[in-house]
């Protein structure tokens, strides 16, 4: 209990600071992944075959390389050409990888929208891009929230890898406490784990709420939570 007070309570601001860095990294990488992943999915479903192959190639590359290796590649490799901070490198490396995963989610839900929806929109005289924007995406994106929640969780955990290129996030802050006190390994990691758990739980609740509030009659997903 004494260790808990002296270590956990006094060090909590630093752990929370680390969590804040992790959450910023998470938000930026998810936004990058969302924009790019959606673009790739649209390219793959509606684009010329060259674009489709480019999208598939991107997906294969970024899903095939371990996150850790991508981080090192961006920090040491890409920065030969453009100067990037460790944080930016982490956003790009993890964000592009997330784009590859998210493009799969989006491609799946776009293709799951019945063909009649596009036909009806085109028959009204809607150009294709307007039909995608007004008709296909609003339906597809609702269905994407469920699988996207998984992506949220796995990327939250992936942020802990960014310490290898010097991003001082939650896990690294935990390490600092362990090394400056030369111990408390279990205690500190238990608290770190609890913080990840809470962040993940809150994020998931928020996404479930969003999913429910956007649910359409006849298309509700049942979730026992």
């Amino acid at each position: 209990m004494e260790a808990f007070n002296s270590v956990v309570i006094s060090q909590m601001p630093f752990l929370l600071g680390g969590l804040w860095v992790a959450l910023q990294l998470l938000a930026l990488l998810l936004i990058l992944g969302l924009g790019l992943g959606l673009g790739i999915a649209l390219m793959e479903v509606y684009g010329h075959w060259t674009l489709r192959w480019a999208g598939i190639l991107f997906e294969r590359i970024f899903r095939g390389i371990p996150a850790l290796v991508l981080l090192l590649l961006f920090y040491y490799g890409v920065t030969e050409f453009i100067e990037l901070s460790a944080f930016t490198s982490a956003v790009l490396a993890l964000g592009l990888r997330s784009a590859a995963y998210q493009s799969q989610i989006f491609r799946g839900v776009i293709q799951a929208v019945p063909a009649g929806q596009m036909a009806a929109a085109r028959a009204l005289g809607m150009p294709k891009h307007k039909a995608v924007f007004h008709i296909i995406l609003p339906q597809a994106l609702r269905q994407a929230i469920g699988p996207w929640t998984n992506e949220f969780s796995s990327e939250l955990k992936a942020t802990s890898l960014a310490y290898v290129i010097g991003v001082v996030e939650l896990t690294r802050q935990g390490r600092y406490i362990i090394s400056s006190t030369q111990g408390n390994v279990l205690l500190v990691f238990a608290v770190v784990a609890a913080l990840y758990f809470v962040a993940n739980w809150l994020g998931n609740q928020l996404l479930y709420k969003l999913e429910r509030s956007l649910a359409l009659p006849g298309f509700e997903t049942r979730r026992d939570d």
């Binding site: 006094s10 060090q11 601001p13 630093f14 600071g17 990058l32 924009g35 790019l36 673009g39 649209l42 390219m43 509606y46 684009g47 920090y75 040491y76 920065t79 030969e80 453009i82 100067e83 990037l84 901070s85 460790a86 944080f87 930016t88 790009l92 891009h129 995608v132 310490y163 290898v164 290129i165 010097g166 001082v168 690294r172 390490r175 600092y176 362990i178 090394s179 400056s180 006190t181 030369q182 111990g183 390994v185």
Partner: protein
């Protein structure tokens, strides 16, 4: 906008973000980035959000004396030397041992410390200096550190000694694993061992391996930024006016101050005369 235009806008937006967040070139030249492994007391660590340790405090003093603008960046131990050789950091400030392999990829300042290695076992262990390092013992050390390399080359690879080496990302985890019964002993440098004892960890030292291992700061091979002169001059000044002893004893009250420079091995290019900031 059609779909293709939207996509183009998106990609160029991402590129812009990347460029915008890069520090400007002139600023990067003025401020030196010192790489540290901030989980390595007493040399460098973070406490209450602040960089601390012998190497950190000494570097701050040297920077003040020499008019350098230094900022510290924490990187995990295995990343430090690659980061320096790729130019991601300008110098390396930590308890860095001088070794032939490292001397090939980086240049060392004059050595400011000399270390031996200590054999640690749990407080209640019956092992002694010999049994802790033979006869089926599993020994922990930090991956990439000189202790791990020494154990591999001299004991693990020797058929007459039955010993297995297990490497860890840092020493705290290694000691924790030893206390959990997964290791028989841990070999660390003298100052690390003393730091564990100072923190009342339930361990004891059963023996010392005399290494006379010099430690120094390091810069990129060939010293492209011309830092060695300032650093060597700064180290000597710190030593001569007594601030060095003060800093060392702040973190390691029992430590014996060695004369600077300590042993300068012949295999280090930057120890060949004339040594900038030292020979003159």
């Amino acid at each position: 906008m059609n779909m293709r235009e939207k996509l183009c806008a998106l990609i160029s937006g991402a590129a812009l973000l990347a460029v915008a967040s890069a520090p400007s070139q002139s600023l990067a030249q003025e401020t030196l980035t010192a790489g540290v492994e901030a989980a390595f007391p007493p040399w460098a660590y973070v406490e209450n959000g602040e960089f601390k340790g012998i190497a950190i405090d000494a570097m701050r003093e040297i920077a003040k004396d020499e008019g350098l603008n230094v900022e510290f960046r924490d990187l995990p131990w295995p990343s430090l030397i690659p980061a320096l050789s790729r130019g991601r950091i300008d110098l390396l400030v930590t308890g860095l041992n001088v070794t032939p392999e490292r001397a090939e990829v980086l240049d060392f300042t004059i050595p400011w410390w000399e270390n031996d290695d200590e054999v640690l076992v749990p407080e209640d262990s019956d092992l002694n200096l010999v049994t802790a390092l033979c006869c089926g013992a599993t020994v922990g050390a930090q991956g990439g550190a000189t202790q791990a390399q020494w154990l591999e080359e001299n004991l693990a690879d020797n058929e007459n000694v039955d010993l297995a080496v297990r490497t860890y990302e840092d020493y705290v985890i290694a000691v924790e694993d030893m206390l959990a019964g997964r290791l028989d002993s841990v070999v660390t440098s003298t100052d690390t061992a003393e730091s564990f004892l100072a923190n009342d960890r339930p361990i004891k030292i059963v023996g010392t391996i005399q290494q006379n291992q010099p430690q120094a700061l390091a810069v990129q091979k060939g010293d492209p930024n011309g830092l060695l002169e300032s650093l060597n001059r700064g180290i000597l000044k710190l030593y001569n006016d007594g601030r060095w002893a003060e800093i060392v004893h702040r973190y390691s009250p029992q430590a014996t101050i060695r004369q600077i420079p300590t042993t300068m091995p012949d295999y280090v290019d930057s120890y060949h005369e004339p040594i900038p900031g030292y020979s003159e």
